[in-house]
């Protein structure tokens, strides 16, 4: 048990901060994912074939390629890409992006592909009459979306979004390969210096279980709130 002590003798505080890091990366990635979903969901639902193609390309490629490969692409290619863009503007110094940004961008793009599918499914399952009724009542496009479609869509999307959240949370463990100190990386460091991998990796598993359990409880509450009217 002294292995988990706080302070200099144990790994308790390190693992605590690592857990906070995992939560921070997951939330950032989820928000980045929502941002991508906001762009690509309309493309997938668009009337135009070319826009459909772009949307489908994004979700198919990201969902068909391993997460680890995407992370390697960002890890090795991220600063190169930024430096290339900077060189166009006449900036030739070496730029290093920190692991947090690389990691949450990579996981965010992955989680965005799943979110896009969830939103597309939710919008498509809203009754067509709702769109028509809104139009007939003379509500403008903005109001149609925010006041009528979005609230109904959220109710349908939340159960599936909770799955996306679980996937995102578990995917953040893969960022440890880039050296960002989250639960997995910290366990790796602790296991290496104490030669007790079984304990630390099992403890990491417990931390992940705890995170998924608590977030499930919170999401269930949210679900009840949004399906009040039903």
């Amino acid at each position: 048990m002294e292995l988990l002590a706080f302070g200099k003798t144990g790994w308790g505080d390190e693992l605590f901060y690592a857990t906070l890091m995992t939560i921070a990366v997951s939330i950032t990635a989820m928000l980045v994912g929502f941002f991508f979903a906001l762009i690509f969901t309309p493309l997938k639902l668009s009337k135009y074939k070319t826009l459909n193609l772009v949307g489908n390309f994004y979700t198919t490629v990201i969902r068909g390629v391993p997460e680890l490969l995407v992370i390697y692409l960002f890890f090795f290619g991220g600063s190169g890409a930024i430096m290339y863009v900077a060189s166009i503007f006449g900036y030739y110094e070496y730029i290093e992006i920190n692991a947090f940004i690389t990691g949450s961008m990579a996981i965010g793009i992955i989680s965005g592909a799943y979110s896009t599918e969830v939103f597309r499914g939710a919008i498509q399952s809203i009754d067509k009459g709702q769109f028509e009724a809104a139009k007939v009542l003379g509500i403008n496009k903005f109001g149609q979306f925010y006041k009528i479609i979005l609230p109904q869509m959220l109710r349908l999307a939340i159960p599936n979004l909770s799955n996306v959240w679980q996937i995102t949370l578990k995917d953040t463990s893969l960022i440890s390969v880039t050296g960002l100190v989250e639960i997995m990386r910290q366990s790796y460091i602790a296991a290496g210096s104490t030669r007790d991998p079984l304990f630390f990796y099992s403890f990491a598993a417990v931390l992940y279980l705890l995170l998924t359990y608590v977030s499930m409880k919170l999401i269930n509450k949210l679900e009840v709130r949004y399906s009040k009217g039903y």
Partner: protein
């Protein structure tokens, strides 16, 4: 864009794909049995057996696959007793550790898929079998299992694709699978985009094949024929 690199790395990556496919097929094969076993336990009325099966699937679905591989590969070797048994022959090989981790992981997801498939079978079908005087065992093997397999095909297809992506984690325990070789080429040439296109293309091609095979099977075994 470095076309030469893409052409020279293609055969290397294709060779590594064989490792990925071996890992995938072995873990799916064993995982199916484990999944079926735990799905049947889940349907058991005994609360302890039921809870045990639920706990298994909850733990393996609630933790990242990476943690599971690390526990099995780095963690289990730490137990002195295991080193003296025959299990050590298996556990010292990263290849078998990866397969054990993947099998247990996919087994957990498969058990959930099969359980829900068994539960959606209409009781009328089982009652019909009973009233025809068919024994419980035959009802299970000849009626429930075929219907459950048909029901679970779409979800199981997704699970196969997820598992294919999961095998990329084998590269973290020193195995040179498709992702492992891709990472090696990237880190020696510093050309991530080219390698990503080739390796990603191979993965997408496999996804495409799996997707279409499942679609074909769904059509073949659908009820309306």
């Amino acid at each position: 864009m470095d076309l030469d690199l893409m052409i020279t790395s293609f055969p290397k990556l294709l060779g590594a794909t064989v490792v990925t496919l071996k890992l995938l097929s072995a873990s799916l094969f064993f995982g199916l049995f484990i999944g079926l076993f735990f799905a049947i336990l889940r349907l058991n009325k005994n609360i302890f057996i039921n809870k045990f099966a639920y706990g298994y699937s909850y733990i393996f679905r609630g933790t990242p696959l990476l943690v599971q591989i690390f526990i099995i590969y780095f963690g289990l070797g730490q137990i002195e007793y295991l080193r003296t048994t025959f299990l050590w022959v298996v556990l010292k090989e990263p290849y078998w550790c990866a397969i054990i981790a993947f099998t247990l992981n996919t087994g957990a997801y498969t058990s959930e898929i099969l359980r829900s498939a068994f539960q959606t079978i209409k009781p009328g079908i089982i009652e019909a079998g009973k009233s025809l005087g068919i024994s419980n065992k035959i009802i299970f093997y000849k009626i429930q299992i075929p219907i459950a397999i048909r029901q679970s095909l779409p979800a199981y297809g997704n699970e196969i694709i997820l598992m294919m992506k999961g095998t990329s984690l084998a590269s973290t325990v020193t195995l040179m699978d498709l992702t492992g070789v891709a990472k090696y080429i990237i880190s020696t040439t510093f050309k991530p985009i080219e390698v990503f296109i080739v390796a990603g293309g191979i993965y997408l091609f496999m996804t495409f094949i799996i997707h279409n095979v499942i679609k074909y099977l769904e059509k073949k075994y659908s009820f309306q024929q």
